[in-house]
Symmetry: C2
């Protein structure tokens, strides 16, 4: 990659302003890359309509309603453009360029502010019927459990394993922490309460991963997102528990590994879905 | 269908004896059907290897280990034969001939002694990487909950929604019942304990269905198996809760309906997978 630049979204200034800044960034990237650019890939949080190329009402971009971003980007760059859910794109990125290389069936989970993910089945990106499937953070781990801020029901994986929830549960238990990373650090230094919160997090995550593995029978589960930076402190207990608990035939050759693309997964993933949908045009129109 | 005959498996008499009886039944069916028969479809509980056509060690057929049933049936009938997990086959049957007709993306759940299921994605039967995916009864509903007899971990959907669990929880709560159907009847006649057990069952089932709907974004969830004979007493509360709780875009056009094939789903399903795999040969070798 020639370079990697970040600008703040400043979503509250509205889509016109935000898109102008994003497109300026895109023009820089196209200039740097030269003649090799054949498509524009865009990843964004949902809800969105990936087939129509429209942002419907992304939760983290208040006011960005019904934005035909694919048409706008096509016009701006004179190139074909595609839009996908950012977690779907990240899954495609890790599959093509990261920790999922070489697999046909892979589950990607991002454990971050929320919990999201994507699934590769038989080498193809799974999107659900209209592109809104694959909401892996919203599988149940405890149906009478904590309210889930993301979807409003109770006991989703996200309600326990997200960075937000980790820090929140630690504060509820009396710890003076700001982030999930603070909780991880306190657990490493032997704090009993932090250890309990962290262990509970690993158990919930393992339970969600086990559900997904029993359903999809993947070769590999790739775990990324900010919370996964704690490395084996998170992955070790999760791997041990999942491999002990998934049904026999699924366990046989299941790997649970860290994502490889780090902060670049959004951009690399957007490129991966653009590649997939433009070189395999059937995949563009199809539901998966 | 020309007819429908049932013989006991008598699994304890061993595979030689059992297969002889099944094959005799098959010969009767072929005779009745005449020249139209082009393939033999076999559905069985797992673990099995559907690609190789071998029963590995089906849980409910103790001693039936490594039986090359597809080769044996091919020889016996002089026809091509295919083997699939019985819940996968049932999903294919409901999709082609039953309550899933006309859908491209469908989840089938059988709520019976255990809880199993199958998934149709983009019109094709999903089998997971080696045919052991789609274990829909083993998604979590409460990770610290009841032990699951089917898989050994805690809090699977099966550990709450199966007929076995319904009757067991009712007995634990002091009711004098034998079956899930007894519990349903007691709840209908106003028994408070039975009502509580039944409500909990519906909540657990709704939670599992919500997980699966969030993951797969199906058009329709088809619920079959013995417990589903209670009809709207089961489906009504499940439907209401799922539609209130799945993420917005998934809820838009999700239907939750009763299976249509009843006791014939095993046989019709086996025919459906034979049809699919023999008329769409790529599907035979592929993982989904």
């Amino acid at each position: 990659m020639a370079g990697f630049t970040v600008v703040p979204t400043d979503a509250e200034c509205g889509p016109e302003d935000g898109l102008a800044r994003l497109f300026a960034l895109g023009r820089q990237a196209v200039e740097r890359a030269g003649a090799d650019v054949t498509a524009v890939g865009i990843g964004c949080g949902g809800p969105l309509d990936s087939a129509a190329g429209v942002l419907i009402a992304p939760l983290h971009l208040p006011g960005w309603t019904n934005i035909p971003i694919v048409d706008m980007a096509s016009t701006e760059f004179g190139l074909r453009a595609v839009l996908d859910n950012d977690a779907t794109a990240a899954a495609a990125g890790e599959h093509r360029f990261g920790a999922g290389r070489g697999t046909s069936n892979m589950v990607y989970l991002t454990v971050s502010t929320g919990v999201g993910g994507g699934v590769i089945l038989d080498g193809r990106v799974f999107r659900g019927r209209t592109g809104n499937g694959g909401e892996l953070g919203h599988v149940t781990v405890d149906w009478r459990g904590r309210p889930c801020k993301g979807c409003g029901r109770r006991g989703c994986l996200e309600a326990y394993a997200s960075g937000t929830s980790i820090a929140e549960r630690a504060r509820e238990a009396g710890l003076d922490v700001e982030t999930a990373s603070d909780v991880a650090a306190a657990a490493r230094s032997g704090d009993v309460v932090a250890t309990r919160v962290w262990d509970e997090t690993c158990e919930a995550l393992a339970s969600g991963v086990t559900s997904l593995a029993n359903v999809f029978e993947p070769e590999r589960v790739v775990i990324g997102g900010g919370v996964s930076r704690e490395g084996e402190q998170l992955l070790g207990p999760v791997r041990q528990r999942v491999l002990a608990e998934v049904i026999g035939p699924v366990a046989r050759s299941l790997e649970i590994v860290s994502a490889e693309l780090g902060d670049t997964v959004g951009v690399v993933g957007a490129a991966a879905v653009a590649y997939e949908r433009i070189t395999r045009p059937n995949a563009t129109d199809s539901v998966m």
